[in-house]
Symmetry: C2
Subunit: 433 residues, 2 copies
């Protein structure tokens, strides 16, 4: 883990981590385009072919839709054998639901003289959630992606997830899907799943928006199909930035950096601190923890992208944080509240020593789908606002029209839209009669 | 203009208008990628080269930034010669500002037992607005794209617009920019302008989000750079759908269909009516208006994509509208209010005979940047919400942590994120001591 003590070094480091490539790997893009074209023309036939090719040789058409029984079995198996997990799911569900309720917006209409203007809020009708599969288990992904949709009022949530080689979907993922009331689950993954949701097949219904994390194929398919369907923000390597002073507990800081580091080797784990002593203790703790629980991904990520930046005061730390725009920002210092409103760019702020990032990943309530790779500059956490659309309402009275139309005509004529002007004039003539 | 009287015909028509291509013209995409790469590596040098190539041969580096004097001159020329236009701009500004104020969201924080959760609203810091140029004049584009950003609290708005062959930018566009308090204007257009705003050059600052309409090069550049920068929704051919009964005025309906038709030959102008008589009168009026004011674009658009659908009752009309998801929906019937809340998908609803679409385009207040080509299924009008980002806040107390952490550990372990579990455990051990 590099320790950065001067501006020059810091600048160089920021450059290495700040670049977000705008290009995508051409090779992969070509493959994804072919998959999309195939699914578009041959629908389920193509979906099945790709699922056999990438996930499970033995898949049959009848296997694509997860049966009600399969979900029930997974759930009851968990409940029997791991009741604490089901309890955790239920508590998480409740906390996440309650937090997201606060994001709910209402339709408003107001009168202006005797005209009416307003904005109607409407939930999206059908949403698709991509959940990674293979050997992994992703119950929290199911919770975090589906609950805001439910709060928004989305009627139908379709989940897609690649099966393992035995045609199965992880039981923890299924148990979470049951608790969230997911309407249908398909054993399909990769670009073919995204294409199927965006375009619709015989079996898989076309959705209005696709959310959820996936590999590079999934990400590119989402980007290519953006506009045919809405998508969530584009995810890159994730990061944690911890601002700490000498009051911070080095063991906690080390553990939190490692919790981010285990995500992938590209993860960025950064500590900014006013205390050199803390810096050295954190390094020691990280080494100790990695020795006790060897983890090659976390080691590489710390080694390659990790950094400790020594600064003069916490004010400077907030400035650097605003440049990095971290997905997760932890404030581990004496008066963390003072710093909160100095932060302009971050996905989520974790305040004080009992708010480590994983408490937010699983149980606190706010969404764990956060803008990564510096996109907190313009993207927001996933929320209820992502699952609604707005419709403007304009109802002009005759009197208001008579007052305003001449100005609208003036502007239409300047823009040389004469039929726009005409639409106003034919009415104005009648009013003036 | 075709008249559709049965379900089969309607289905065929809906198919022809409902397809939103997911592919982009490969040729153009290649060119745009080259422009992006050039601007990325050679910055202003490349921007200038492309501006010379596409817009104005004589451009010099010093011409790229619009001078303060140029803006002042344009404004005062308008004020002297066309005071009514300046008055119209000011009224429009005020109406649009007031409407968008209602969209403004506030930061909220709440306590849950002794923990704090919340969501901070932050404006984007710097936004880019693309305004088309050439021979056109687009004051309303400037108003509609910049005012929501101003209401959101965006500090810096950068406008780009291609110059004409004499290096000039349209005076009406400049006057609108002055009224909106645009911070900087560059005479740059096309994909090179989008690349410059997304990546940043010596002269043109990198922005957080790019909004505003443009040609296919602009649209593709925005899509390719989505993620490096945020963009507004992807625009396609625009449409108007008018629901009318026998009480509607055929002259108004005809004029409104034509006002949409003059946008471009791909525009879709659709009337759904319970009255055959109205249908024929509308056709007659359209023919008359086109004869009085010949307009080849409007004629072609009516001819190619226009349709009148005859239906039994207005309920059926709302169902068809929800399938078409029109950008603009006019309700020209006896009790239009009854229909408003039956509409699930539309950009904006214009209610009653004194609310023609152009009143919303220019002066009413709601945004005229609306989701096109059926994307009202999931996209919203441009609004204040497009110019803010949200930051979650999590501040756990020791007691709440002690209660919740075991469940978070349970979930982390099921997902096999052992260092996530560790970050919680090291604290829990200390609390339990």
């Amino acid at each position: 883990m590099r320790i950065i003590e001067n501006k020059k070094e810091l600048e160089r480091y920021l450059e290495t981590i700040s670049f977000i490539g705008y290009g995508v790997v051409e090779e992969i893009e070509k493959k994804v385009k072919k998959i999309i074209a195939d699914v578009s023309s041959r629908k389920d036939e193509a979906v099945l072919e790709y699922t056999r090719l990438f996930d499970c040789k033995e898949m049959e058409p009848v296997d694509l839709l997860v049966k009600e029984d399969e979900i029930e079995e997974a759930y009851f198996e968990c409940q029997e054998e791991e009741p604490k997990f089901i309890e955790a799911l239920k508590i998480a569900y409740e906390n996440i639901y309650q937090y997201h309720l606060k994001q709910k917006e209402e339709t408003w209409l107001y009168t202006k003289e005797d005209s009416v203007l307003g904005q109607i809020i409407r939930p999206l009708e059908r949403v698709g959630i991509y959940v990674p599969g293979g050997n992994g288990s992703y119950p929290s992904t199911v919770l975090m992606n589906s609950i805001p949709a439910k709060v928004a009022g989305v009627k139908e949530i379709i989940m897609v997830t690649p099966p393992d080689k035995e045609k199965k979907v992880n039981k923890y993922t299924l148990a979470a899907a049951k608790i969230c009331g997911i309407n249908k689950i398909f054993k399909v993954g990769g670009a073919q799943a995204i294409a199927a949701l965006a375009i619709g097949t015989e079996l898989i219904p076309k959705v209005d928006k696709i959310v959820g994390p996936g590999n590079i194929y999934v990400a590119i398919a989402k980007k290519l199909l953006f506009g045919v369907v809405d998508i969530d923000s584009i995810a890159g390597p994730s990061e944690v930035l911890i601002i700490a002073d000498s009051s911070a507990n080095p063991k906690y800081v080390a553990a939190d950096l490692l919790s981010q580091a285990e995500h992938d080797t590209m993860a960025r784990c950064i500590l900014i601190t006013t205390s050199k002593e803390l810096a050295f203790e954190v390094v020691e703790n990280i080494n100790g923890m990695l020795k006790a629980n060897p983890n090659p991904i976390a080691s590489q990520s710390i080694e390659k992208n990790g950094a400790i930046v020594i600064i003069e005061d916490l004010e400077e730390a907030t400035q650097i944080a605003n440049m990095i725009c971290p997905e997760h920002l932890e404030l581990c210092c004496k008066e963390p509240e003072d710093l909160i409103f100095k932060i302009k760019n971050a996905g989520a702020i974790f305040v004080g020593e009992f708010s480590p990032e994983p408490i937010g990943d699983y149980i606190a309530g706010p969404n764990h789908v956060l803008p990564t790779s510096g996109t907190a500059r313009f993207f927001s956490p996933l929320g209820v606002y992502d699952f609604v659309k707005r419709i403007s309402v304009i109802k002009y009275s005759k009197e208001q029209f008579f007052k305003d139309a001449p100005f609208a005509i003036e502007m239409a004529e300047k823009e040389r839209f004469l039929f726009h002007a005409n639409s106003l004039k034919v009415r104005l003539e009648d009013v003036q009669k």
